[in-house]
Every structure is written in C-alpha cells, then in structure tokens.
C-alpha cells in the first residue's frame, strides 16, 4: 500500500506537466492565443519538468513541483476558461510569462534602480549606525541616552513620515533615500550596540594587552567582531528594507520595481502588475540566497548562531 | 529483592540496530545483542563511551526500533513506548514551561486513570519523598541541576511503572548529591511493595556495584561479560564499600574496563596499587 502511494507521489508532477501541456494545446486549438504568444509559457513548463527530472533524487522535489504545477493549472484554468466580469484582474499565467519576456529590459532597469537605492540607503545607515554605536560603546552615559530613544524610534515605521519627507526633500529620490536610511538606521544602531556590549571582557583585555592604538582597535578588533552581528541584523532587516524600498517607491518614484508595479496598477494593467510581483519575489529570494552564501564564506569563524 | 526465576520480564533477542545515516554519524550500533532481565531484577549496563548502552536503553524504551531481532517485554514484542515502562535520562528532561508539580502530574496522568485530586496528592507525595517538598510551584529553571534530576526521578517513580529505565541519571550531578540520590533510589526500591524491574545505564563502577543485582559489561556493541553482584539486600553502603569482597569484585570489574597488555602493565600495576 505504501509503495503504491509512493509511486503515485513520484508520478504526480509528471502527470500534472502533461495536463498543463494538454491545456495549452486546447487553448491553441480554440484560437484564443497563437503559437508565439504561448511560447514563453511552454518554455517555462518544459524547464520545470526538466528540473523535476534532474532533481528526482530528492524526495521533496516531487511534492514542491506538484504544487507549483497544480497552481499553474488551476490559475490557467480559472483565467482562461471562466468568464468572470473581473477577468482583467486575473490574467492567465501564459500572458504574465509572455509579458515578463517582452518587458525584460524595463524590468532589468527597474531592478537596478531599486538596488541602487537600497544599497545607498543601507550604506548610509550602516556608516552612521556603526559610528554612533562605537561612540556609545566608549561612553556609557551616551549609550544610556541613545538606547531608549533608539528603541522608540525603531518602533515607528519610517513610512509614516514618508509623505512629509516627500514634501520636504527636493526630489522623490532623496526622500526615498531618507526613508530607507532612517528606517534601517535605528535597528542597526541598536543591534550594533548590543553586540558591542556583549563583547567578552577577556577578548577586550587581551586586545588591550597588545597595546593597540585606538584606530587599530576599532578597525582590526571591533569591526570584525561586529560584522556577524551586522550581517544578522541585515538579514533580519532585509525584508523590512524591501518593504521600505517599495513603500518609498510607491510614494511617487519614477523608477524601480515598486514603481513598475504601481505604474501598471494605475493603468490597470494587471498582467504587468502580477509580473512585477513575481519579479520582486524572485529578486528577494535571490538576495536572500546570495546573503546566505556570503554569510557562509565570510563568517566561517563563527559558530551557527553567528557569534564568536 | 526477591527474584523470580520463571519467565523473563525483558528479553533482548539477537538485536541489531544502527542509527539512520542522518542522525548517527558518531553514534554506536548494536550487533546481535542478547540478554534477559528477570522480574524484580536490577540490572546495570556498564561500559565505556560509545559501546551502545544508551542505544540499548532507547530500544527498550521504545524510542527506536531494532533493525533485526526482537525486544520482548512480558513475552510480547514491543517497539514503541508503553505504560509499563518509565524512563529517566541523564539530562533532566523536564518540560520547562510546566511547574515542578505539573511535570510530575503529567507523568502520572499518562499512565493512570485517577482523578485530579488523587494525581495531585500522589505527585506531592513523591516530591516529598525525594526531598523537594516546598518546591512544587517552582519552574525548572529556578532549580539546581541536582534538584531538577530529583524531579525527574520523582516523576519516574510516581508513574509506578513495572519497569524503570534509567540512562546515567546521576551522571550530571555533583558528588555529594549523587550519594544522596543513590541511597534514595536503593531505599525506595528495597521498600517498594511491588517488584520493580530496573535497567540502569552507568559508567560508574561503584554505582553499579552498589545498586544492582547483576552487571552486564558491554563492549563493542555486545555483552562481553555478565557478573552477579554478591551482596544481599537490604544493602548498607558503609558495610559494603569497606568489605574485602567489594574490593575484589571491583577489581574484576575495573580490569574489564581497562584491559592492559604488554608495556602498559606498568601503569596497570601502578594504578592497581592505588586501588
């Protein structure tokens, strides 16, 4: 009995793949769409099937891709064969994939614009945050002053003062930069202060016994020590950083992935809107995966929790 | 404790076991392991690290299932936990979100149908027995290691199971409390109305001799030797430890642990001298 279920499980994604191809065949036949328009979708389906075949060894591949195929089939069926009055809200996947391919240049440009903004904002927040955190490390009184304030401010979503920032700053881009940087600044500050506070006393003492001057102390001991903490903070903050980025872009920017979604949303071109979602999803996953990889290479000297 | 010589309570019959690849990179395996435990007997599994004693206990507890061979309890094959066995681990596995009393009550509730009031009384009785009266409302994190282990033991005893499985229960406790708890366990088992069968894992020779009726010495995933402990119950620690019989028995056991050959016999002689 168990074996039968297991075999069924393994065969499921392939069956669904065939069902999907069959569905597209029907669409072709009905004349709803022509061969060229369906090509990207077909390519995607074939690609997915290839992955299933290549990674057949892992048990979960079958399950994951069954779900993915299933979603595609349901979506395609609902969008193509049902006639609802709000069908423009639910574009079928083949159109979405086609639009992704067609608009690829604009999408890449948007990605770069967004990335640039995010990077700058993050860099600003890190430089200011770490500098202030170091100062706080040296002066307890300053720290006791800064931490409660930072606690309060880190709770406030930066988007709240976005409209104000938009009015005050000469350009949307600067306002967006301000929002992102200030949103990231407070958590970075707090986390860096925490990691400085948690430095093992003995580590500090042995560093001091080496008679380092202040500059070396900071550059060679403290900063490397704080890097894992910073990394962890960043990975935690990345989702809110993206949220800030997109929120800021939604406020009136003229480029970036957030803009892409809003622009097309304003024009009710929901095909492109959904394509935009997918792009953002892929983007964020890639960034996370990249960060994971970097973390593993750079932080080989820490244990799993990211502490020395 | 009287030992009935009829059917065995626990039978381990030609058992082989290996941890699955994902879990057991460094863990031991068992190969064709066989032994019996009679009802009412206190058996110690003793051996060096990695010889498989904890693994054996986990099979008896039902946490793992033998790949080959059978584990039989009361003649029936078992491969899952049951109400007839209670377990204590080396690291006090108390549920940290339950107070001490609740931890014990939880165990009792699992094996008996009594009502709330009776369960509570029983829990309090056993906690008093292990010397923790007054700590019932504390959370585990508020207790010391020794006290936490005592709660574990109270939980085990209060479940009043026929079989007690104990995996180095006193291993993580400081020397003084260890003595206290060993004496406590011995006294409780000797005075218990019902016969309890105990399988006890330890790497402490003295502990094994003091507490058990029979010692199974494990080496390389098998039982290398079986020794009957020559002391009568009720046992008195002072008397036993100072007797000549004890010294000889202990030496035998010690030598099993460390078999010296060739050049190392000089060290052996030196150490033997100290003993």
């Amino acid at each position: 009995m168990r074996r039968a279920l297991n075999i069924l499980y393994k065969l499921l994604p392939h069956a669904l793949f065939l069902a999907l191809m069959g569905m597209m065949g029907v669409i072709l036949q009905r004349g709803d769409r022509d061969w060229a328009a369906l090509r990207p979708m077909l390519a995607l389906a074939v690609l997915m099937e290839a992955i299933v075949l290549l990674r057949a060894k892992r048990w979960e591949t079958a399950g994951i891709f069954s779900i993915l195929f299933g979603v595609l089939i349901l979506w395609q069926a609902y969008a193509s064969f049902m006639n609802t009055s709000v069908s423009f809200l639910f574009p079928p996947p083949d159109k979405v994939v086609a639009v992704l391919v067609k608009d690829i240049r604009l999408i890449l440009h948007s990605i770069l614009a967004s990335f640039w903004l995010l990077l700058l904002g993050f860099a600003l927040a890190v430089v200011l945050g770490v500098a202030l955190a170091l100062l706080c490390g040296y002066n307890r009184r300053l720290q006791n002053l800064v931490v409660p304030i930072a606690d309060v401010f880190s709770a406030i979503p930066a988007l709240v003062y976005a409209p104000y920032a938009v009015a005050v700053f000469p350009s949307f881009w600067l306002a967006a930069l301000f929002v992102i940087a200030s949103g990231l600044f407070w958590p970075i500050l707090i986390n860096t202060i925490q990691s400085i506070n948690s430095i093992d006393r003995t580590l500090l003492d042995s560093a001091r016994a080496l008679d380092l001057n202040r500059r070396d102390m900071i550059l060679r001991i403290l900063l490397p020590y704080c890097t894992p903490g910073l990394f962890n903070t960043f990975t935690m903050q990345i989702s809110s950083a993206f949220m800030l980025l997109i929120g800021a872009e939604l406020m009136g920017m003229t480029s970036g992935v957030g803009w892409y979604v809003k622009y097309n949303s304003d024009f009710s071109n929901y095909t492109k809107v959904i394509a935009g979602f997918i792009v953002i999803g892929v983007l964020v996953s890639l960034v996370n995966a990249g960060l994971d990889l970097l973390k593993r290479r750079l932080l080989m000297w820490t244990n799993m929790e990211g502490r020395a | 404790m009287n030992v009935s010589s009829v059917k065995s309570k626990i039978e381990v019959d030609d058992v082989s076991f290996r941890y699955p690849a994902t879990e057991g990179a460094g863990k031991s395996q068992l190969e064709h392991l066989s032994f019996d435990v009679r009802e009412g007997e206190f058996v110690s599994l003793i051996g060096g690290s990695g010889c498989g004693k904890s693994t054996t206990l986990s099979l008896l507890a039902g946490l793992n299932r033998a790949d080959q061979g059978q584990v039989r309890i009361d003649g029936l094959e078992t491969h899952a936990p049951g109400k007839n066995r209670g377990v204590v681990f080396q690291h006090y596995a108390l549920f940290p979100w339950m107070r001490v009393r609740k931890n014990v009550e939880f165990g009792i509730r699992q094996v008996s149908e009594a009502n709330k009031k009776d369960i509570r009384e029983k829990a309090e009785r056993y906690l008093k027995l292990v010397g923790l009266e007054g700590s019932e409302n504390l959370y585990p994190y508020q207790l010391s290691g020794g006290m936490q282990q005592r709660v574990s033991i109270a939980r085990l005893l209060s479940m009043e199971t026929e079989i007690l499985l104990m995996d180095e229960p006193f291993g993580a406790i400081d020397a003084k409390n260890r003595v206290v708890l060993q004496d406590l366990l011995l006294a409780l088992l000797e005075r218990s109305a019902k016969r309890r069968t105990v399988v006890f894992v330890t790497h402490d020779i003295d502990e094994a001799i003091l507490l058990s009726d029979r010692i199974l010495f494990m080496k390389d995933a098998r039982i290398a030797e079986t020794l009957e402990v020559p002391f009568e119950h009720p046992r008195n620690r002072e008397e036993i430890v100072t007797s000549r019989q004890y010294q000889e028995f202990r030496r035998r056991l010690f030598n099993l642990f460390y078999d010296f050959e060739g050049e190392e016999s000089e060290i052996a002689k030196g150490i033997e001298y100290i003993i």
């Binding site: 009184r141 720290q143 979503p157 009015a167 | 940290p96 979100w97 939880f106 165990g107 699992q110 959370y139």
Partner: protein
Amino acid sequence: MNVSAKSALGELRAPRVQWSAFVPVLLCALLAAVAQWVPDGVENESHAPFIALLALLGAIGVIERRKQSARDILTLVVVLLGAWEIATAKAATSVHFLFPTPEMVLHVYLTDYAQIGKNIATTSLFLLCGFISGVAAATLLGIIVGWSVRAKKILLPIVKVLTPIPPLIYTPYLIVLMPSFFWASVAIIFLSVFWGIFLSMIFAVSGMDQKLIDMATTLNVNRAQLYFHILLPYCLPHAMDRLQQAITAAFMVLFNAEMIGNAFSGVGWYIAWNARFADYTKVVAGIFIAGVFVVLLKSILRRARSAVVRWR
C-alpha cells in the same frame, strides 16, 4: 553625583561637567518663559498648551531626577523643542507651510481630537483583526507543519521564497480585488504577519531539544496532547518574540494601505489626506500620533510577553 558605570569599551569620557539634578526642569521653565514672553515673529496660536506640555515635562524631570539617563533624555527633548519653537515661532517672520510651530500642532490636537480619536479607533480595529487572525493561523499551522517531517520538506522551500516578499506590494492589487477596504486591509495585514511567524514556528519546532521530544514520546502523548501541551507552550516564546517585529510590519503595511487606498478613516489616511491638501500642521500632528500609538502598542506587547513567558 552618581558615577557613570564603566563603559563597555573603555575610558573615553567627555569632560566632566557638574550637572545639577534639576537642570532639565530649569530648562523647561526657561523655555516656557521664552515661549510666553519673547514675542512671536509669526502668527501663532495660544501658548498655553505648549506651556502645559513643558510643565508636564518638568514634572517628569522632577520625579526622575536621580537617573542620569532620564535627565539626559529630557534635556535633549527640551533642547529640541526649544530649537523647534525658536526656529519656527520666534526667529522666523512668516510661517513656512511645511514647518508648523509647536503651538499650531498642539492646537490641532485640541480642536480635532474627535476626528483623531475616530481615526485611531479605525486603525486599531483593522490592525487587531488582521493581526490576531494572522498570528493565530501562523502559530497553529507552523506547529503542525513543523512537526510533520514530510510537510516540512515540501513546504519549507516554498515558504522561504514567499516570506520575504513584502506584502506591501500586493496592496494596490488587493485593494482593487477585495470587496471592501476592511477586507483588503485585513488581508494585507494577515499576509504580512503570517509568513514570518509561520516560518519561525517551523524553525522553533524543528529546533526543539530532542530530549524533550524523547521524554514526551516515552510518556505516550497522543497527537492533541503533543500539539497543545508540548509544542505550543514551547514555541510560544518564539512567537512572542516575533510579535513585536510583526506588529511593526503590520503597522507599516496598514499605514501604507490607508495612505494609498480608498480608505476614509485611519491614522495613515489622516496623514496622507492632509498631505494631499498641503495642511502640514495636521500631517506633523498625525505623524506624532502614529509614533506614540506604535510605541504604546509595542510596550504593551512587551509586557504581555513577560507575563506569559515566565518560565524562561
């Protein structure tokens, strides 16, 4: 004078100045005097509420005069208030529409409090509905999926991909899709809160100490007992840790939705609406309200957490 505790990194102290314990209080009085008697350069509202605020701060200064950090913070606050007041009301000759005076902002609170109250109520209601449903669903499902090795293997990669996507981005879409703004905002908050907690619950269950699981196994717990007596209490602290992050995310998403959607009430809406009409006094007032609101909620959560999780 109390001595500063040793700083974390060593001895780099600012030159010691003899602060008296009452300096912040004195500053409050000074600022109040300046506000009242130095003539305004601009057309301004009554000074009374501002002076009342300073009196309040002064009272806090008196009560907390022993803690140096409290004194420092208070001093900083008063200095900033003073800078604001002087820059906008005293030194300037006309009110810049972007930079209202403190008196004008306070005046808004006094006159508009009914509407502000209504907005706060609306935002709170939406937030609660979305938040509670999201958290409850995420906790339960997270425990169930986290426990089942198979479900975890299949779902975890998918969830890891979906989690970081800011639900913010669905906002315009959901607003159009859902029958009403209420449902749209509940859906958005649900989505923003759900994934993070779901993921962290799965990790919490996966990372549970094997010894506890073994103990539960030997105690013959059945499925229901496992979920409700073992896994749930164990994972609750992890969930509560995440709650604070989650509520910040929920706020962000809700405010944003209110700002761009077809809402007609709510704190976010208040800010955006007035920004659209260039009434920046109200905008600033709204921002302060939002800030206080969020901070209050977070500290309530913090207290709830320590009350619920006493066993750590």
